[in-house]
Amino acid sequence: MMSNNGVNFAPFWHNGPAPGSFYNFPQNNIKSNSAIDEYGFQRNGGPITTGTSIVGVKYDKGVIIAGDKLVSYGNLARYHNVDRVFKINENIILGMSGDYADFQFIKQYIDEIILSDFSADDRIVLKPKDLYTWLTRVLYNRRSRFNPLWLDMVVGGMQGEEPFLGHINIRGRSYTNDVISTGYGTHLALPLLREYSEKGPLNEETAQQLIQKSMEVLFYRDCRGYPKYSQANINANGVTVSDHEVKQNWDLALSIKGY
């Protein structure tokens, strides 16, 4: 395999992508051969101040998105009064997980979009699917330049009369569904949420209970969890963002002795 016994094959292709290195599409001239470029920048060093799971549930008349109020610094529970769920406008709510600094960066651009909407004063306002698509394109572009925004986001809202719920991940892959979760929620909450949502459309009360249960499980089982969470509920009546606390049940501990 190592030697071709003197026989040398012509290259399979010329001037095309070389696996392992950065490929410049025809009109681009991006130099990206070394780990550090001429300005001293390296590839994304990874997330630093992070938010953990977000959970989202669609019900018959609206959507609920919830996430705990913690931003962690590695293992350290650093900032514990932080909202990771936001009202964007009357039609859209957004939950973030991942690097909080990257989120603050993209939020400025989202705020500008909302402001332009307001200034245009033409009664046309951003809808959830618009934001969802925009975020997909932005995150995909950053991923393709090897400098991702380290974020996993859940967009929810009212697309006209219909509730909308979607997920965009760090690499710009997006999808919509009746139930969404990021981080640990994918493993812990999503199976539970899917079981209930597949039985039929949920009403607001069941959706609320599912969220509560998911947040409880996430607090028990996610090391980076926190018992206080905020939740955004959107429907035809508007958006309410509220604070909640997980009802913890540790009675189980009393019955365990030894190992």
Binding site: Y39, G40, A101, Q104
Partner: protein
């Protein structure tokens, strides 16, 4: 490492392995820091001043790389001076904090800087802003930073109260910093404290108590500006 035969400071960048904190109180903010700058395990400067002036009433506490934080503080300080000249008004604490965040976020892969911005302005009174490693920006009423801060999360959680009186708050900051200095090898020296109110800054320096004793009540020096 052994090529340098015990001089590990030749391999390490200069860092303000540090303890810093800032607390809002009734009338302004109190900022505190230790005074040790280390290169590996050598103390490069034992009397550092980590409470850095941006404007007369807005200061920052620096932790992380000494070079990076000094460079950024110099830039933000100039940028703020220019802003105040062009806008004919004093900069707000939030504006200075946002400027710090701009640099710390955009250069996040190149620098190591954990900064606390604290000061007084006449719109929102005393404010404290935290700009940690990734470059996020968050306002808090009490925040700690630097390597020594790990040791005092418990102490601060137990003893912090909102809107303390000035002297009570100075005691709290001083004790917290001394506790951190005791445990953290990268923190040490003296405890520098700054009290920022509408009248400007009053600086104090406290010497560390003997390891058996409780911290001294009277400061070694008081400067009012």
């Amino acid at each position: 490492m052994d090529a340098h035969l015990g001089c590990d400071f030749l391999d390490h960048p200069v860092s303000t392995g540090t303890t810093i904190m800032a607390v809002e109180f009734n009338g302004g903010v109190i900022i505190g820091a230790d005074s040790r700058t280390s290169t590996g395990s050598y103390v490069a400067n034992r009397v550092t001043d980590k409470l850095t002036r941006i404007t007369d009433k807005i200061y920052c506490c620096r932790s992380g790389s000494a070079a990076d934080t000094q460079a950024i503080a110099d830039i933000v300080s100039y940028s703020t001076y220019f802003f105040e000249n062009q806008n004919n008004r004093d900069a707000l604490v939030s504006e200075v904090a946002a400027e710090f965040r701009k640099f710390c976020y955009n250069y996040r892969d190149t620098i190591t800087a954990g900064i606390i911005v604290a000061g007084y302005d006449d719109v929102n009174g005393g404010q404290v802003y935290s700009v940690p490693l990734g470059g996020m920006l968050i306002r808090q009423s009490c925040t700690i930073g630097g390597s020594g801060s790990s040791f005092i999360y418990g102490f601060v959680r137990e003893n912090y109260k909102e809107q303390m009186e000035k002297e009570e708050c100075v005691e709290f900051v001083k004790k917290a910093v001394f506790h951190a200095m005791f445990h953290d090898g990268s923190s040490g020296g003296v405890c520098r404290v700054g009290i920022i109110t509408k009248d400007g800054i009053e600086r104090r320096v406290f010497f560390a108590p003997s390891v058996d004793e409780k911290p001294a009540m009277t400061p070694a020096s008081v400067t009012v500006r």
